[in-house]
Amino acid sequence: MADLSVDIGTLHLKNPVMPASGTYGYGPEFDDFYDVSRLGAIVTKACTSKHREGNRYPRMVETPMGMLNSVGLQNKGVDYFISTIYPAVSHYDTHIIVNVSDSTVDGYVEVAGKLEALEKITAIELNISCPNVKEGGMAFGTSCPMAASVTKAVRDVYHKTLIVKLSPNVTNIAEIARAVEAEGADSVSLINTLLGMAIDIEKRSPLLSTITGGLSGPAVKPIALRMVWQVANAVKIPVIGMGGISNASDAIEFLLAGATAVQIGTANFVDPMVCVRVIDGINEYLDRHNCKSVNEIIGALRA
């Protein structure tokens, strides 16, 4: 049994595996399948300043080895999170990271500020990359100045671990990563979904109510891995890698490419046990390769 623990900011994670925001609810959804506290951390669905209904149905389409979604940040708002959801999840014996989204810098600041008071919320993940909202969302993640400004504003009010989640829909993701690192982000996570589209040729209409949506799943893995590798080579803060991870082998690719931890999203829908299987699989790999700690393989790509 190798030492699987890794550090992200001030968080000491028992292992480098967490679910990706928006694919895991808040944790209890998976209680029936395994002990959710086994995860390195839980990452919640996006939390915004106000209640949001999200986009209209239909919100998903299956695509080759992946899916498009346009959920659009449906959630009951930060106050509801604090009053109702937090009490229901704070018993978990692992870190809880809240994914924070909004349409305005003030909104992000409001949510982050309110969450800081919650003892069990040890980090937030600033979602500046949601492709599924009309205002804000991805726009913040596709320009260095905007990414920097929202990071800076949140950094001013939020003193725990601040992870910024990057958009892959950019020319140079390393540049954005450096911009948020410069403003004090403790870590970057990537990738959020790639903007995509699908059409019903019989009806001649888009298959999503929002026309475009975010692509995730195994299809995007090669792109995600490349971006994680680029970013890991560009910043000093730890990188959390995700995009299409479906098994331990995929996760290890991300670790080798330089990710300190990984998130697993869409694969939870196909195999609800995937997160624990990945934890076990990483452990087996480390044992087989005589590694005492997962840190030995982080960034260990021979390139």
């Binding site: 609810g25 399948f33 669905k45 919100r59 998903m60 299956e62 899916m67 959920v71 449906q74």
Partner: protein, 260 residues
């Protein structure tokens, strides 16, 4: 209700009508309690164009044999692969998922199923019948080939049939069947099938002041409330059809023009 991930062994695969298969699946563990209207998320292996699981209603349950049955209509690659499973194959299910139909207050109820929408109605008939109620089942389809195993209901219900082409039962849409002539005698109406059919039934029920539950077949990714892809618009906001549904009382659904 606790959800499980279990492997099932295919005991039988009968093509009950062209393109409709009934699969009898034996659970390798002990089956949990399953309520009418609940569904399972099926893992479709070896289908390159099927990445996500597929939601399929529980058609029948046999606690003695520790089996469940599914009624599957082939509409695409996923259902084609499921329907091609052979005796002895293994199928992985996440189940039982979703809420279930509620027990009616009164004595007489009407169940309406259109096409493969009939799937949850068998278990529902049994369930309501076992509570001493009188059940009428109305099965509608385009042609006789879409009327699946009507005999199955005989023990629990009176069965009416409609087909659009008149090849079996009454000719016409399900809502033109005589059961609807004296609809007032039913204390509850349940419907599952194509949206237009359910909306028509919901309209009749609402106008007659009868509570009506429908089972929605929204597109699903997770099936367990984690992704928020499958939402239905309700009078109290967007609800998941996989956890808060698939069964909804039509009075709670927005945009179901119930007065028309």
């Amino acid at each position: 209700m606790t959800k499980f991930i279990h492997d099932f062994k295919v005991l039988q695969n009968r093509e009950v009508s062209k393109g409709y298969h009934v699969l009898v699946l034996q659970c390798l563990q002990q089956l949990p309690a399953i309520f009418p209207g609940q569904f399972a998320q099926l893992l479709v292996e070896n289908s390159p164009s099927t990445y996500l699981r597929r939601p399929i209603s529980i058609y029948d349950v046999d606690p003695v044999e520790n089996t469940i049955s599914l009624l599957v209509k082939v509409v695409g690659s996923g259902t084609a692969h499921i329907s091609a499973l052979q005796e002895g194959n293994t199928l992985n299910l996440v189940y039982p998922l979703g809420n279930s139909f509620s027990l009616p207050e009164g004595k007489k109820v009407l169940l309406v199923g259109g096409g493969v929408g009939i799937a949850p109605m068998l278990l529902l008939s049994k369930f309501i019948h076992s509570h001493g109620k009188e059940v009428s089942v109305l099965i509608g389809g385009r042609t006789s080939a879409d009327i699946i195993e009507p005999d199955q209901y005989a023990k629990y219900a009176t069965v009416g049939i409609t087909t659009e082409d008149g090849s079996l039962g009454h000719k016409g849409l399900v809502t033109t069947h005589s059961y609807f002539d004296s609809v007032g005698k039913y204390s509850m109406i349940y419907a599952c099938g194509p949206d237009p059919m359910m909306k028509a039934v919901a309209g009749i029920a609402t106008r007659a002041g009868i509570p009506c539950e429908v089972s929605l077949e929204n597109l699903m990714a997770c099936g367990i409330g984690a992704c928020l892809c499958c939402i239905a618009e309700t009078t109290s906001g967007n609800k998941t059809t996989c956890v808060d549904g698939p069964v909804f009382n039509v009075k709670d659904l927005s945009g179901w023009d119930r007065s028309k």
